[in-house]
C-alpha cells in the first residue's frame, strides 16, 4: 500500500501544486481593478508577481540545472524593448506582443547560451555578466552607432497609456503559466535531467542525458518568461530606459530571490518575490531610505547561506511535515 502511494505521489503532487497555483490566481484576479481603494493593492500585486515570474523563470536554469546566470537583465530588457518598439512604432497591443518578445529573448538566449553553457564552474556565471553588460551598453549606444533613432539611448522610450486592469489580468495569467511550467518541468523527465546535470554533468552525459541540448532548452524557456516580465513592465510603467531594464542590479535581484526563497524548489522563487516585493514596498513607505531594503536583503542572504541553503522553502519544510509535503524542499525526496 505504501509502495503504491509512493509511486503515485508524482502525479498526485503535481496536480495538488497546480490546484494551489490556480486558487491563488483566482483570488488575485478577483481584486477589483476599477476601484480607487484597491489601486495600491493592485500595484503591490504587480510588483510581487512580476518578481515571482522572473525568479521562477531564472530558477529553471539557475536552480534546476545549476547554471547561475548573472545576465538575465538582458532578457528582461529585450522583452521590454521588443514590446515597447512594436507598440510605439507599429501600434500593436502590448499584451499581444508577449509571445514575440519571449521568442526574441529565447532566440538571443540560444545564441548566447550555446557556446557559454559548455563552460564549467564559475565561468558560465562570469560570461553571463559580460553578456548582460554588453547588451546594456549596446542598447544605450545603438542610436549613436547606427545614426538612427531606434531606442533613444539612455534617455529611454516613453510609451502611450495603457489600461492597468488588462495588465493585471495578463500578469496573473503569465504567473500561472510560469508556475505550471516550473511544476511540470521539475516533476518530469526534463527536470530530472536538469538536476542530474546540476549534480554531475559528466555522469549525466554518460548516463545518456543530452546535457548541452537540455541546458540550452532550459536557458531558452527561462529567457522566454523573463522577457514576458519585461513586456508586462513596458505595458504597466509606460517608460523604458536601458539603465533600469538592462541594469546589473536587476540581474542580481533575479538571482537573490530564488536563493533566499529556496533554490531549485517550485515555491522558493514565490517566497523570495514576496519578501522582495512586500518588504521593499513596506520599508520604503515607512522610512524613505532607499538603501535599507538592500541592507535587509544582504542580511537575509547571509543568514540563508549560513543556516538554510534551501531558504524559506527549507524553513517551512523543517517546520512541519505538511509544509514538507507541500514545498518538497529536500532534493533527495523530490528529484
Amino acid at each position: 500500500m505504501t509502495e503504491r502511494l509512493r509511486r503515485m505521489d508524482w502525479a498526485h503532487d503535481r496536480g495538488a501544486q497546480i490546484v494551489v497555483v490556480l486558487l491563488v490566481a483566482v483570488v488575485l484576479a478577483a481584486i477589483p481593478t476599477n476601484e480607487r481603494q484597491y489601486a495600491n493593492l493592485i500595484r503591490i500585486t504587480f510588483l510581487v508577481l512580476w518578481y515571482a515570474i522572473m525568479a521562477g523563470a531564472w530558477n529553471i536554469i539557475g536552480g534546476y540545472a545549476g547554471q547561475v546566470s548573472f545576465g538575465h537583465a538582458a532578457f528582461l530588457g529585450t522583452g521590454a524593448y521588443v514590446t515597447g518598439t512594436l507598440w510605439q512604432t507599429f501600434h500593436i497591443d502590448p499584451l499581444l506582443t508577449l509571445p514575440i518578445a519571449g521568442l526574441a529573448a529565447a532566440l538571443y538566449s540560444v545564441i548566447v547560451g550555446a557556446p557559454t553553457l559548455r563552460l564549467r564552474g564559475p565561468y558560465f556565471a562570469i560570461a553571463t555578466i559580460g553578456v548582460g553588460e554588453a547588451t546594456r551598453l549596446f542598447v544605450s549606444n545603438i542610436d549613436d552607432i547606427t545614426g538612427q533613432v531606434i531606442t533613444h539611448g539612455v534617455t529611454g522610450i516613453s510609451l502611450p497609456n495603457y489600461d492597468p486592469a488588462k495588465v493585471h489580468y495578463a500578469t496573473v495569467a503569465v504567473f500561472v503559466v510560469v508556475m505550471i511550467t516550473t511544476i511540470l518541468i521539475r516533476e518530469g523527465r526534463f527536470g530530472l535531467g536538469l538536476f542530474a546535470i546540476n549534480m554531475d554533468r559528466d555522469a549525466a552525459e554518460t548516463s545518456g542525458v543530452p546535457t548541452a541540448r537540455l541546458q540550452v532548452l532550459a536557458f531558452a524557456i527561462s529567457a522566454f518568461f523573463t522577457a514576458c516580465a519585461g513586456s508586462l513592465y513596458a505595458a504597466r510603467q509606460q517608460f523604458l530606459d536601458p539603465t533600469t531594464m538592462f541594469g546589473f542590479d536587476k540581474s542580481i535581484q533575479v538571482v537573490l530571490m530564488p536563493v533566499v526563497g529556496g533554490l531549485g524548489t517550485v515555491w522558493g522563487p514565490v517566497f523570495g518575490a514576496l519578501l522582495f516585493g512586500g518588504v521593499q514596498d513596506q520599508i520604503s513607505s515607512l522610512t524613505r531610505n532607499p538603501y535599507l531594503p538592500q541592507l535587509i536583503y544582504g542580511l537575509l542572504l547571509v543568514l540563508v547561506v549560513l543556516f538554510e541553503p534551501l531558504g524559506v522553502a527549507g524553513l517551512l519544510g523543517r517546520a512541519s511535515s505538511a509544509g514538507r509535503a507541500f514545498v518538497r524542499p529536500r532534493r533527495e525526496t523530490t528529484v
Binding site: 530530472l192 542530474a196 549534480m199 554531475d200 545518456g208
Partner: protein, 245 residues
C-alpha cells in the same frame, strides 16, 4: 575479423599535448564475454575507456561498435548506441536518492520506458543489483560498496550492449569484492558484454574470459588469464626487469 567483434578498436591514439596516453592500441571485444584490461598506474587504461565512452575524442584511430564508428561521438550518443561506462571515482547524483539515480538511466537510456513502466524497470534493476532495500536513501549517504553498486545499476539502467566498468572493485573489502564479481557475472549472463579495468588481480583474473595488458600507453599482451599471468612482458611491466632475469 573486425565484423565478428562487437566492439573493436584500431590504432587508437590519444595525445594530451606532448604526452601520448594511448599509443596505437588495437582491441577486439566479443559478444557476451568479460574482457579484462589491466596495467600499471599510468598505463592509459582509463584514458582508453574515456575514448570508448565518448568522454574523450581519440586523437586518431577508429573505435567501432558492430562495425559502426563511435569514436569521437558525444558520450550521450555513445550511450544511445549501447556503450555505457561507470566512473573510476564513483559519481552518483549525490543529492538524489538511489531510486532517482537509476531512474535517470531508465528515462535517458535506451529503454524508452516512461511513467509507471519506467518505475517498474527501476524496481527490476534495484532488485537485480540488490539495492532495493536502500532505494530511498540519498546517494551521498551510501557506503562506498553501495555507491559502486549504484554506479553499475545506473549504467545498467540505460540498457547497454557493452558495459565498461572502471575499477568497480577497488577499495572494497574481500567480501564486497566477491559480491561485485558475482554481480558482474550475472550481468554478463544476462547478455551484456563487459569490459573492465581492475587493479584487484584476484577479481579480474577470476572473472575475465580474456585479458589485455597495457603499459605506458601501448598494448603489451593479450590472452586468457592463465597465459597473461606467465607472460614475461607482463611480469616485467609490473615487477621490473630484475624479476624477469
Amino acid at each position: 575479423m573486425a565484423d565478428s567483434a562487437l566492439l573493436a578498436g584500431r590504432a587508437v591514439v590519444k595525445r594530451f599535448g606532448g604526452l601520448v596516453a594511448v599509443n596505437a592500441v588495437d582491441f577486439e571485444v566479443r559478444r557476451a564475454e568479460i574482457f579484462g584490461l589491466i596495467g600499471p598506474n599510468g598505463a592509459g587504461k582509463t584514458t582508453l575507456f574515456r575514448c570508448i565512452s565518448g568522454m574523450y575524442a581519440p586523437t586518431s584511430g577508429s573505435i567501432r561498435l558492430r562495425g559502426k564508428e563511435i569514436g569521437g561521438l558525444a558520450a550521450h550518443v555513445v550511450c544511445a548506441r549501447g556503450v555505457v561506462t561507470t566512473h573510476q571515482i564513483v559519481r552518483p547524483f549525490l543529492e538524489m536518492n538511489v531510486r532517482r539515480n537509476v531512474l535517470v538511466g531508465v528515462l535517458y537510456g535506451r529503454s524508452g520506458l516512461r511513467g509507471a513502466r519506467a518505475d517498474a524497470e527501476v524496481q527490476r534493476i534495484l532488485e537485480f543489483t540488490e539495492l532495493a532495500p536502500h532505494e530511498h536513501i540519498a546517494a551521498k549517504s551510501l557506503t562506498l560498496a553501495r555507491r559502486k553498486r549504484l554506479e553499475v545499476a545506473r549504467a545498467l539502467a540505460t540498457r547497454p550492449d557493452v558495459l565498461l566498468l572502471d575499477e568497480v572493485a577497488a577499495g572494497l573489502n574481500p567480501t564486497e569484492s566477491a559480491r561485485m564479481v558475482e554481480l558482474i557475472r550475472r550481468i554478463r549472463d544476462a547478455g551484456v558484454t563487459i569490459v573492465m579495468v581492475e587493479h584487484v588481480m584476484k577479481a579480474i583474473m577470476s572473472v575475465s574470459d580474456r585479458i589485455m595488458v597495457m603499459d605506458l600507453g601501448a598494448k603489451i599482451a593479450e590472452g586468457a588469464p592463465a597465459e597473461i599471468a606467465k607472460d614475461q612482458r607482463v611480469i616485467k611491466a609490473y615487477l621490473g626487469q630484475e624479476a624477469v632475469a
